[in-house]
């Protein structure tokens, strides 16, 4: 009986292909949008999480300038007191629970090799930086202590820089020019890929901090201090210790606020992940509205269908159809219709998500639960919005219906 009814409704949908398709458009667009949003969203979340993990786990980043959250002047303020060597020295001397402490300053600089050139993120730091950021070398060696101290012109390059200058060749031992000073390549960094914001993390050149300060920055400022917690120490515990030590060396009296900020990358990761979740949730809600519009479309077309088929309903009632037979017939038709729209929408949504994932280099993560939900939801829309028209059909008086032209 149900199968019979499904066949019947497929037939009547086929009879009006164009009209059915136009009716379905709302559902198709709604479901496609929801599926695409949620799929891209979960891909982005996964990507953001793995990005932050790549940045180094359990990492605190100290920057000059008051924390933005207190409303004070941010890092762009001229009056900001930069971080200095003695701040790093104090942390190295007094901080417990840290695995690695590394100063870093960076700048976008033109890097040249032969006739090729590339604008690259040049960072001055020391060998602890690799440890703090969980960054390994594919080949070569890190800076030696003496190189770090004396500021020798040596550097480590990222994969993008290697590709640009050396293609398939070996970079180690080659000399590149960084902002008019030359620099010998001593190692190649492991590739990290793009961040969720499309920033290439492999377009980098690392050099000893002293060399960077002298030859590139022209000052002795330190932009960041990276502090990686060891395995036993949570960053939430480490953060106040770092704050205490820095307040002390920077001689900040208790009545004044910090003139530096400490960012916890783990928390940022969580915040960003939850932000993307909220974003996709909101976009999903917007897409949900189009599902509602689609539902109203279904209701409309079912009302038309019931009116057009009044005589048919009259015949069926005269012949002995129970009200519920007519109700079920039109309910099934509405459900089949919107389910069809849902399935088309899912396919389109997945295709869009696949394209977007490829373009944004995020993982394509279709969720079976979301797809099932979309199927169920579109069926539900058909039932809900089909109910009123179906009831209207079922309640027709057979005599009136038979008289209907």
């Amino acid at each position: 009986m149900i199968w019979e009814t499904v066949r019947l409704s497929l037939r009547s949908i086929r009879r009006n292909v164009l009209r059915s398709f136009l009716t379905l458009l709302g559902i198709v667009i709604g479901v496609a949008a929801v599926i695409a949003m949620l799929t891209i969203g979960s891909g982005t979340t996964a990507k953001v999480k793995s990005d932050i993990a790549k940045l180094g786990s359990n990492l605190l980043v100290v920057r000059p300038g008051r924390p933005a959250s207190t409303g004070g002047p941010g890092g762009l303020d001229q009056a900001v007191r930069p971080l200095a060597d003695k701040d790093v020295a104090a942390l190295v001397a007094h901080l417990t629970g840290a695995r690695a402490i590394a100063p870093a300053s960076q700048k976008q600089v033109r890097v040249i090799f032969g006739t090729e050139s590339l604008t690259s993120g040049v960072t001055g730091t020391d060998s602890a930086y690799l440890d703090a950021r969980d960054w390994k070398l594919v080949s070569g060696r890190p800076f030696s202590d003496s190189e770090t101290r004396s500021g020798t012109g040596v550097c480590l390059i990222g994969e993008t820089v290697r590709q640009q200058f050396f293609g398939a060749g070996e970079p180690d031992g080659e000399i590149i020019r960084v902002n008019r000073t030359s620099c010998k390549i001593i190692g190649l960094l492991e590739p990290k890929g793009y961040t969720g914001f499309g920033q290439d993390q492999d377009n980098v050149v690392l050099m000893p901090l002293a060399a960077y300060q002298r030859r590139i920055a022209g000052n002795r400022d330190i932009d960041n201090i990276y502090v990686a917690a060891d395995d036993r120490t949570p960053t939430t515990e480490l953060q106040p210790r770092v704050e205490d030590i820095l307040r002390d060396t920077r001689r900040i009296t208790p009545d004044r606020e910090d003139d530096f900020s400490i960012r916890d990358m783990t928390q940022i990761a969580d915040a960003m992940a939850s932000a993307t979740t909220t974003m996709t949730g909101m976009l999903g809600a917007v897409a949900g509205v189009s599902l509602l519009v689609g539902g109203i479309g279904i209701m409309n077309i079912m009302l038309v269908s019931v009116t057009e088929r009044t005589r048919e309903i009259g015949i069926r009632l005269a012949i002995g159809a129970h009200e519920k037979h007519i109700l079920i017939q039109f309910l099934v038709e509405a459900t089949v219709l919107s389910l069809l729209g849902g399935i088309i929408g899912i396919l389109i949504g997945l295709a869009l998500a696949g394209l977007a994932s490829a373009a944004l280099t995020i993982p394509f993560a279709p969720s079976p639960a979301v797809i099932l939900l979309a199927v169920g939801f579109s069926a539900l829309i058909g039932m809900v919005f089909g109910f009123f028209p179906a009831l209207r059909g079922a309640r027709l008086d057979p005599i009136d219906a038979l008289r209907h032209e």
Partner: protein, 235 residues
């Protein structure tokens, strides 16, 4: 006692439409009995209440006042779903305008009442083929109404009406849309069904030669039964 045993019994049946000044009495206190196996023609001028009476007989409608009993059941007081069940089990309909489902084959049209009985597909198919054979439509099973002549469409409608082996066939002007030759073919078919299957037939017609096929003729006038004559009595 005789009235009790009747298949169809009208006891001062009224059917009124509208309110106050505009009130119309389509039936004004009709008393009537039709026995099982009878072939009754209902005649009368336009607006005399024939279709109204037929709708009540067919359990499509209920009286405003009075009692309509069908098979001894007080059908006038049943709800619409119970009346639907009565129609499905015991009553077949043939209309002037055939009323077949468009774009649906003859066989599927004939199967329709069986679907609402929950009959399995095989059984439906077999019974539909049999009914189509009984009305002389072998070879046209898979034609849609648009591909059939008026007479053939009416045969499909008759097959659909008898496929459930009903007790009563209600036919409101079944030959109204047909030419003379087709009319007589249909009337011969109905006569045969009445004789061979013992099917009770109540049929509205405007034509005297159509009414001649019936054993009994009831004439309506202004919502009353004006005359009621049987061939046997006359003979």
């Amino acid at each position: 006692m005789a009235a009790n045993a009747a298949l169809i019994g009208f006891d001062t049946v009224w059917k009124s439409y509208g309110q106050g000044e505009a009130k119309v009495h389509a039936l004004a206190g009709v008393d009537l009995a039709i026995q099982r196996g009878e072939f009754v023609a209902i005649m009368g001028p336009s607006g005399s209440g024939k279709s109204t009476a037929m709708n009540i007989i067919g359990c499509l409608d209920t009286p405003t006042a009075g009692t309509y009993s069908f098979m001894g059941i007080d059908a006038g007081r049943l709800d619409r779903n119970r009346r639907a069940l009565l129609r499905n089990l015991y009553i077949g309909f043939v209309f002037q305008g055939y009323n077949l489902l468009p774009r649906t084959t003859a066989a599927e049209n004939v199967e329709l009442p069986l679907i609402y009985r929950g009959a399995p597909a095989r059984e439906r198919r077999d019974l539909a083929m049999q009914a189509l054979a009984e009305v002389g439509l072998v070879g046209r099973e898979h034609h849609t109404p648009a591909e059939l002549s008026g007479g053939q469409q009416q045969r499909v409608a008759i097959a659909r009406a008898i496929v459930t082996r009903p007790t009563l066939l209600v036919a409101d002007e079944p030959t109204g849309n047909l030419d003379t030759a087709r009319t007589h073919e249909i009337m011969e078919l109905l006569t045969r069904l009445n004789r061979d299957l013992g099917l009770t037939i109540a049929m509205v017609t405007h034509e005297a030669d159509v009414a001649d096929y019936a054993e009994r003729t009831i004439r309506f006038l202004d919502g009353h039964v004006a005359s009621d004559s049987s061939k046997l009595e006359v003979a």
